[in-house]
Symmetry: C2
Subunit: 422 residues, 2 copies
C-alpha cells in the first residue's frame, strides 16, 4: 500500500488511555497494509511542567541565555511520549520502535529553541519499515552539527511530521488534532462556520500566519516547499471507524489550484487578538526612518507583523506597526529610550486593545472588489478600521478588540461562508 | 587543584530548591579551583512516575519485552534533571553544560534496563573542563553500539559516577546522598550505630551485596576495579560549610588495607528482609541435582542468593536456597510443575517470613572464632539459625524475620560496634 505519516498532538497523547487509542488507530492503518511512521507530541502539559521547573531556577527574562539546556530539558517530553506509544503499540501486538531526533538523525541548525531542520536521514527508519515495524519519531527536536539537542519551537511537532513525510516521500501526512479540520472561521465565534474539505496550501499558509491555530505555519511552509499532501483530522473519532472513511475526513491541504471545481472567492476568516499597535508620530520624513525604527526593534528580537507608513504632511509622517502583546511594553520602552531621541520624532503612542481580522482566499487574485466588500461590511456595522494590510490572497484589518466577534460574524455572512461550496 | 566527580541522588535533586542547593555546593567546589564533573540522578519520584505510565499501557509481568522502550522512557528523567542542574549552575554565574549518556558517549552493551558500561570517551568532557566549564553527565544511562539508549538499572547513577571518575582519572568520586556515610548498621534499628570514617572496598562490597542500601553494588565493584577513591557523604549539610571540612566528612572507601591503624574484626552488620527461603526436600542424592534445580530457576531469570545443600541421609538430601520475595511464588510454582516430577523429589517447602543477617569485616580473615561468637550471641537470645553462608570476610545467617532487630542489636553490641574504633 502506501507510506503514511501520522502526527498526534499533545491532547491526543494526553493520558495512557489516549495513547492506547492512538496505538489502536495506528495499528489499524498498519494492518491495512500501510507502512506507518508516527510523530507524537509530548503529553499535554508536560512541556509546560518542564519549563516551569526551569523558571523556578532562573529568572524568566534571562531564559534565553539558558537555551541549550532548555532544549535538553524540553526534548525529554517527546522522547517519553514516543517510548510510551511504542510500548502501547507492542502491547497491541505490533512491532514498533521509537527514535529520538538525534537517533534518526534529524539534523538542524544550532538555533536552540527555534531550530530549523536541515536534513533527515531516512535509512534507519526505512530499514525498520521494510522489516515490518511501525516507526515512531519524536517530534519537535533534532541534533545540530556539534551533537547538541535542539528543539524546533512550540508546535514544532507539526513541522517534524511534515519534514519526515517529505524525507520519506510519504503518500500523505495526517495531522491528528483535537479539531476535525480547518474551518471557514473559529466555530466558537461563528456557530455557522463550515469545515473545508480542501484548502489550498497558500490559503492555509495565510490562515496559519494570521492566527488560525490549527497548524503551525512552518509545517505548512515545509509542506508547500516539498509538496507533501497534508490532512488535518480529528484524533477523537472512535479509533475503529472505517479506514476509508477516516482517510477522507478532515481537511486536505492541496497544491493544485484546479483541484476545486468552483473556487470560492474567500475561503476563510482568520483573527488574532494577540497583537498590540504602536505608532511613532511626527517622524521627519526622510530616507532610512523605517530602518531606524524597525532595525532597533528587530535587534531586540521582537517580531513585527503589520507595518504601515502614512503619506507625509508638512515633512512629517506617522509610522505604525503591530507586535505581539507580550512585547508591547518592551517595544514602547525601547522606542522612547533609544529611537525617539535619535529620530527627532514627537511621540510614541500605542494600543493593546486591538485585534486583526483577515479574509483569506485564493480567488481574490482574480476577483476585484473583495477588499472593498470587506470594508463596506465593516462600515455597515459601524466598525472603524485602524490599519489595513493586504497581500495577493488576503486582506487584513486592525480594529478595536471589542468588535472582533461582530466583525468576524458579519464578514462570514457577507462572503456566504455559511453556504456549502457550489 | 584536582578533578573531582560529584554524584547527587534523587532525593538531593528532589525539587528546584534542592537543585539550587546542589548548584551552590558544586559552584563552591569549582570556585575553590577544582575541575568539576557532576552526575545527577533523576528527581526523586520521576523514574517511578514514568514507569507507572508504562505499566498502564502494558501488562506488568510482560514489561521485560518492552525493555528497549522502557530505557528510552526512563532515560528522560536524568536528562531533565541534568539540564535543570546546568540551568541552576548558570544562574549562579558558572559556565555549565549537560550531556546525555549518548553525547559523552558512555558506551554500554545492549542489555536494556541493566546495561554494563564498556567504555567512556573523555574527550568532550575534558575539553569543556579545560575551557573552565562545570560538566554535568546524566547518570544511569548510555548508548549501545547500534545507537540505542540503554540504562544501567536502579541505582545505576552511582555506577555512572564511578565509571566517569575512573575514565577521567578523577582524584575522588563523592557520592552525595541522604545519609551522612556508611554506618556499622542501620541507625533506625540500632540507635548506637556509628558512622565509619573509612571502610575497605571489600567490606563495602559485602555490605552493598548484603542489603545495605547506601551504595549500589556495581558502583563499588567498579570503584574496586579501577581503584577510584570514593566517599559517601550527605547532601543535606548546608552548602556553604567549609570545603575542607566537607572534603573529610562522610565515609571514605579505601583500597589499602593498612590504611587503618587498627583493623576492626567486624566493621558492620548488614540485614535484608527482601528474601524468601525455598527447600526441595527428599531429593535423590546423585550428581547434577543442583544444576537441575538451579538451572531451571536461572532459566526463568530468577536470581538466587544463599544456597545450602545438606549432607545426605538414606540416599536423599534436602536442597535449600533463597530468592527475592517477589520471585517466591513464581519459583515455587516452577519447581512444583517442572522440576519436582523430573527430579523425583518429595516436596517443595518454603517460607517468606525470613531475614538474612550478616556480619562483615576484613579482620575476619585473620581472626578465628568470629563466626562462633556470632552463633553464640544469637543462641543466647534464643534465636534459631535456619541457614548459614560464609565467605572470607562475612558470615550470613538466615533467621525468622521477627527476630531481625533483636539479632542485629545484640550482634552490634557483642562485636562492640558501638565503641569508637581504637
Amino acid at each position: 500500500m502506501a507510506l503514511i505519516v501520522h502526527k498526534y498532538g499533545g491532547t491526543s497523547m494526553g493520558s495512557p488511555e489516549r495513547i492506547r487509542n492512538v496505538a489502536k488507530r495506528v495499528a489499524k492503518w498498519a494492518r491495512a497494509g500501510h507502512q506507518m511512521v508516527v510523530v507524537p507530541s509530548a503529553m499535554s502539559g508536560e512541556t509546560n511542567r518542564l519549563l516551569g521547573l526551569a523558571k523556578e531556577l532562573a529568572p524568566e527574562r534571562a531564559m534565553q541565555s539558558y537555551h541549550r539546556e532548555l532544549d535538553m530539558l524540553a526534548a525529554t517530553g517527546e522522547q517519553a511520549s514516543s517510548a510510551l506509544l511504542a510500548i502501547a503499540l507492542q502491547s497491541e501486538g505490533m512491532q514498533a520502535v521509537s527514535y529520538a531526533g538525534w537517533q534518526v538523525p534529524i539534523r538542524t541548525d544550532s538555533s536552540y529553541t527555534k531550530a530549523r531542520i536541515e536534513s533527515i536521514d531516512d535509512q534507519r527508519v526505512r530499514a525498520d519499515l521494510n522489516a515490518g515495524k511501525v516507526v515512531i519519531v519524536t517530534g519537535f527536536q533534532g541534533i545540530d552539527s556539534e551533537g547538541n539537542i535542539t528543539t524546533l519551537g512550540r508546535g514544532g511537532s507539526d513541522t517534524s511530521a511534515v519534514a519526515v513525510a517529505a524525507a520519506m516521500k510519504a503518500a500523505e501526512c495526517l495531522i491528528y488534532t483535537d479539531v476535525d479540520g480547518v474551518y471557514t472561521t473559529d466555530p466558537r465565534v461563528v456557530p455557522e462556520a463550515r469545515r473545508l474539505q480542501t484548502v489550498s496550501f497558500e490559503e492555509m499558509l495565510e490562515m496559519a500566519s494570521l492566527g488560525s491555530k490549527v497548524l503551525q505555519i512552518r509545517s505548512v511552509e515545509f509542506a508547500g516547499k516539498y509538496k507533501v499532501p497534508m490532512r488535518v483530522l480529528s484524533s477523537f473519532t472512535p479509533w475503529d471507524i472505517d479506514i476509508n472513511e477516516e482517510a477522507k475526513s478532515g481537511t486536505l491541504i492541496t497544491f493544485e489550484e484546479d483541484e476545486k471545481m468552483e473556487q470560492a472567492v474567500v475561503s476563510g476568516i482568520a483573527f488574532n487578538r494577540d497583537e498590540a499597535k504602536i505608532s511613532v508620530l511626527g517622524v521627519p520624513d526622510k530616507p532610512g526612518i523605517a530602518y531606524q525604527i524597525l532595525g532597533a526593534v528587530a535587534d531586540a528580537n521582537i517580531e513585527v507583523d503589520v507595518i504601515i507608513q502614512n503619506v507625509s504632511k508638512d515633512g512629517k509622517t506617522d509610522f505604525s506597526f503591530t507586535v505581539n502583546r507580550n512585547d508591547y511594553a518592551r517595544t514602547v520602552e525601547l522606542l522612547k529610550e533609544k529611537v525617539l531621541p535619535e529620530l527627532g520624532a514627537q511621540e510614541v503612542a500605542g494600543d493593546t486593545k486591538i485585534c486583526k481580522v483577515s479574509i483569506v482566499g485564493i480567488g481574490m487574485r482574480s476577483h476585484v472588489g473583495v477588499a472593498s466588500k470587506m470594508f463596506r461590511t465593516l462600515s455597515e456595522e459601524g466598525i472603524n478600521i485602524q490599519m489595513i494590510s493586504t497581500s495577493e490572497i488576503k486582506t487584513s484589518v486592525v480594529i478595536d478588540e471589542k468588535y472582533m466577534e461582530l466583525a468576524v460574524r458579519s464578514l462570514h455572512k457577507a462572503f456566504e461562508l455559511d453556504q456549502p461550496a457550489a
